[in-house]
Structure formats: structure tokens, C-alpha cells
Amino acid sequence: MRTVFKTSYDADINLFRHGAQAAWYLALLALALVLPVLLDVFLLGEVTNMLIWAIAGMGLMVLVGQSGQASLGHAAFLAIGCYANVLLQERLGLPFIVSFPLAGLIAGFAGVLLAIPTARLHGIYLAIATLAIAILTDDIIVLAEPLTGGVTGLMTPTISMFGLEIDRYVTPDRFYWLVLLVVVLTVLVYRNLLRAPLGRAFAAVRDSEVSAQAMGVNVARTKATAFGISTAITGLAGALMGHFAGVFNNETFSIIISIQLLLMIVIGGLGSIHGAFFGAIVVALLPQAIALSRDFIGGLLGTGSMAIPGLESAVFGVILILFILFEPTGIYGRWVKIRTYFELFPFYRRDMFRRQKSYLKTERLR
């Protein structure tokens, strides 16, 4: 295992834990930057989609993984970000570079508004309240037809920024780079949150509200802040989803999307940035994997490929159940274990990650 010899407090404050870690992430970023050269248009589109999901995942992760509040309504904030971004461009003629951050702010503000009445709700009750918001948003989109286009939906305009036209179909590589930029900025903000007092206040509220309070953390305000940051990031993801899809309506942001987003971060691993990305990879790959295996099985049986409605959700659900049963820490938790196994080989112990019994077992004076 790598032992990091910390020579200053900055070792715990810095963005990366050690030089090698920084090098790995920079290499990953370099690879991500040249990806449009390496991949064909279809695959690049898939990766772009995956990255947008990862942004949305990070948004929800801030809320669920960091501040411990569940939400089944995040599709509503994807929708708010998406509609706000397009309407600001179409109706007010604002350029994307203004409408996009504004869309995030509006979604964030909506999140804070939701958090004020729900501050006292926990767990399943909060999940139900947020679910209600998602349903309500769906209805509002349909009802506010003059603005939102109702069930017909809206089309996203081509982005023009710094004299460049950015369009998912016409210039897929530019759109990919734009999404990548947002991903990198979101990761940076997320990392900063984790190493700042605010992130610790989130963890405090998540693990024990009563002692968070005793430490001087204003619980209601901290929860509202978590909602605001979470929904702002989710709103940005929604805006990008709109540009990715080209056309969208209320169906684009249905309840299923909310649930899928929550399942995604649980499968990926709650509480880590990695988890959002691992989860996004699963979500992006799943439809392809299902299509491939369906063709394969169809070929074996000689029935040809047939469409089975709801199959995707079902497979997703099964994967989730398997994770909750066998790896509650998600893909990221599994990844940490595998990494530790190789770092320690051949000295890995089976019970290495088992928790100690805390009751009356003391070793402090040993």
C-alpha cells in the first residue's frame, strides 16, 4: 500500500493526495481531451451522454452522498435547467454563455425553495415529498404550454460561443469538449466542497443532526445549501441534456429519470465523486449491453430480435438489488477493495474492510 508521508498540513488540504495521483488524473484528462480523434461519431456521442449523466450524478451525489438527504425528484431540476436554458436563449435572446449559468442558478434557487419546507423531513418522507415535486413539475410543463410547448416540447437552438457554432450533430467534437469542460469544473467545485468547512458541515448533518447542531452547524440552512448546490449542478446537466437531445418535452424528464438517477449513484457508490462516474458508465452502457444480448439470444433462438418494453428498467433494478445485497458500497467500494488487494498482495486479509465492534472493546492503552 502506498504510504504517504505527510510533511505539511497542506498534504491533506491539496486537491490531490500525492504527486502520482495528480499525474494519473492529468493523464486521464489528456486522454479525455483527445478522445474525439480516437472515437467515431457514434461512440463519441455515447461518451458525451455518459459525461452528462455523470454531471447529473454528481449533482444528486452532493445531496444524497454528502448531506444524506434522499431525493426522488431530481428530474424536476434537470427539467428546470433545461427549459430555463432554452427559454432564456429563445425568448430573451441571451447567448448560451449567459443562459447556461443562469439556468444552473435558477435550478439551484428552486432547490433552496424546496428545501425550506422540507427541512424537517427525513428518509422516505423526504423522498416522497421530492417525488411529488417531480410529478408537479411534469404537470406544470404540460399546463404551461404557451411557454414550454406542452407535450409537443421544444427544440434546442445551436449554441454559438466565441464565434464558434456548437451543435451535437454538426460539430459533435466541440459539443463533447463543452461537456468535458463542465465536467471538469463540476469535479473541481465538488472537490473543493469536500475539503472545505461546508463539506464537513454536510457530513455532520448527514451523520448526526443533533451533534452537528451542538458543533454550531445550522442544520436547516446547511440542508438548504446542499439542496441549492445539488440542484444547480443538476440544472446544468439538464441544460446539456436538452442540447444533446435536440428536442425535449415533459417525457424527457419523467419520474423514471429521477429513479434512474438515484439508482445510478447507489450502484456507483454513495459519497464519492468516482461513484457518480461509475454509475454513469453503467447507465450509458446498459441500453447497448441489453440490445446486444437481446440480439444474441434472439439469434440463438432463431426468433430474431424483439423489443421487450420495460426490460431496461427491470435489468437496472436487478443490478441494484444485487449491489445492495453483495456490495452496498457500490462499484467504487469494490474498486477500492480490488486496488487494496493488489497493493498489498499477497498480504490481503479477507476481513480487512469489516467494521470493528465498537462496544466496550478498547485498545487505546494497548
Binding site: 491533506d12 464537513r200 451523520d207 451533534s211 472493546k361
Partner: protein, 261 residues
């Protein structure tokens, strides 16, 4: 003027009068112990001082001013820190992060500069870390700095909780049964720490404890409670030999014996 004044305070839970017209005051710089059988209302008194409950009558003053118009999270800023009888740590965080949460009342950053992690925020983080390292050295927690709470043994958790309260840099420290469940040696450590907290850090300590050895060793004054009522106030020796106190501990003929929680 006393640092903390409990003035004729009453709190009821349905029919149970958990705290019944209790009055006492804690002077700056002393170690004040609350003793009494289980259900006497000791933890409830702590929760009243933490503003978790509103008293139905009476007043609680800190530094001469009533705290009844304040929210629970404002207590830390006033300089009141506490531990909990049934340890309330942040389980999914490391010892270091737990202690750093104690620094929350000294936070100077805001949403924007923290999300950007400006040099100012970095500077502040270094300051918080230095303060926390002092606590780590004081309580001998070096070996556990980067360990997650979820995997720590009971004895260490108790110490971490005390450290987290100290990181607040309080004027008044409320310790709810700091030695319950600890071994004899660990209890000895707690006694030394409480003495140092008082004499070196100049922090006033209000402590609930069943271990009369510890209470006699560290406290300046002791208040015995039973059924929500104050029974006797005095030195540890005086209180232990008070007839009313002996009566309250029926079945515990020897009050020097450790009363099991």
C-alpha cells in the same frame, strides 16, 4: 457573576417531570459535577442547556444573559460545547474531520470562496488544522487521525467526542458520563484530562458522572439529583454522605461503589 445559571428550571415529558424546579450555578473556572441515579434528569439538564428543549418554567443564563431566545446551533458560538451520553460522532468521517467540524464556529469562509477554495480558505484550513492538532496531541489521538469513526473501538470514540468538543475552544464544556464504559486506566486518563482542561485551558467543566472516584478526584462542587429534583449541593464528600442522597441510592449502600449505568 456565575458563568452558567440554572434558575428554577422545570421540564415535563407528558406526565414525567424530568427536571423539577432545579436551580444551581456554575462558577467560571470550576469543575461542577451532577450525580444521581438513572432517570434523575441529568442528561435532560444538558439538553436544556444545549437548547434542544425549552423549559416550561425558569430561565437559563450564560455569562449573565438568558439563552432561551437562542437556537441550539448558536450555543457553540457562545462558547458552550458538549458530549453525548450515547456517543454522537460523525460515523462516516475520519477522526480528523470530526475534530475539524468542531472548528465550525470559527469558520470565516462563505459559500462562494469555499467552492472556489481561494487562498484565504486555504489559510483558514491551515489555522483550523493547527488548532485541531493541539487537541490531538493533548488527547493522544495521533494514531487515529485518519481512521474512520465507524471502525473505532468504544474507548477511542469517547475520547474523540471529547476532542471534538474541545476543538470548539469553549468556555463551558458539558461532559455527559465521560468515563462510562471505560476501563480503570482510561478513567484515570479522563481524570487527568479534566484537570488539565480546567487548569491549563481555563475551561469551566459541567460533568455528569456515576464514577464517584472520578467525581471526587476532579470536581470542586457536586450537585446530587433524583427524580428531577436537586437533593444536595457541596463537595463530593459532603454530597456522598448526605442522608437524602444515600436514601436516593437505595440498594447502593456504599455510595463509593461505582454505580453501573
Amino acid at each position: 457573576m456565575s458563568l452558567l445559571e440554572i434558575d428554577n428550571v422545570t421540564l415535563r415529558f407528558g406526565g414525567v417531570v424530568a427536571v423539577n424546579k432545579v436551580s444551581f450555578s456554575v462558577e467560571e473556572g470550576e469543575v461542577f459535577a451532577l450525580v444521581g441515579p438513572n432517570g434523575a434528569g441529568k442528561s435532560t439538564l444538558f439538553n436544556l442547556v444545549s437548547r434542544i428543549y425549552d423549559p416550561v418554567e425558569g430561565d437559563i443564563r450564560f455569562d449573565g444573559k438568558s439563552i432561551l431566545d437562542k437556537a441550539p446551533h448558536e450555543m457553540a458560538r457562545l462558547g458552550i460545547a458538549r458530549t453525548f451520553q450515547n456517543i454522537e460522532l460523525f460515523e462516516q468521517a475520519t477522526v480528523l474531520q470530526n475534530l475539524l467540524v468542531g472548528r465550525h464556529r470559527h469558520r470565516k469562509g462563505n459559500l462562494v470562496n469555499e467552492l472556489l477554495f481561494t487562498p484565504f480558505v486555504r489559510q483558514e484550513e491551515r489555522r483550523h488544522r493547527e488548532a485541531v492538532e493541539k487537541v490531538i496531541d493533548f488527547l493522544d489521538l495521533q494514531a487515529y487521525r485518519d481512521k474512520y469513526i465507524a471502525g473505532l473501538p468504544y474507548g477511542v470514540r469517547k475520547v474523540v467526542e471529547m476532542g471534538r468538543a474541545l476543538a470548539i475552544e469553549p468556555r463551558l464544556l458539558l461532559l455527559d458520563e465521560p468515563a462510562s464504559g471505560l476501563s480503570v486506566e482510561e478513567t484515570q486518563d479522563v481524570a487527568f484530562w479534566v484537570e488539565d482542561i480546567k487548569s491549563q485551558m481555563g475551561v469551566t467543566v459541567l460533568m455528569v458522572e456515576h464514577d464517584m472516584h472520578l467525581v471526587s478526584a476532579v470536581s470542586d462542587r457536586v450537585l446530587a439529583l433524583a427524580d428531577g429534583k436537586a437533593l444536595a449541593l457541596g463537595t463530593a464528600h459532603e454530597v456522598q454522605n448526605h442522608p437524602k442522597v444515600i436514601e436516593a441510592y437505595i440498594g447502593v449502600s456504599d455510595p463509593h461503589q461505582k454505580v453501573v449505568a
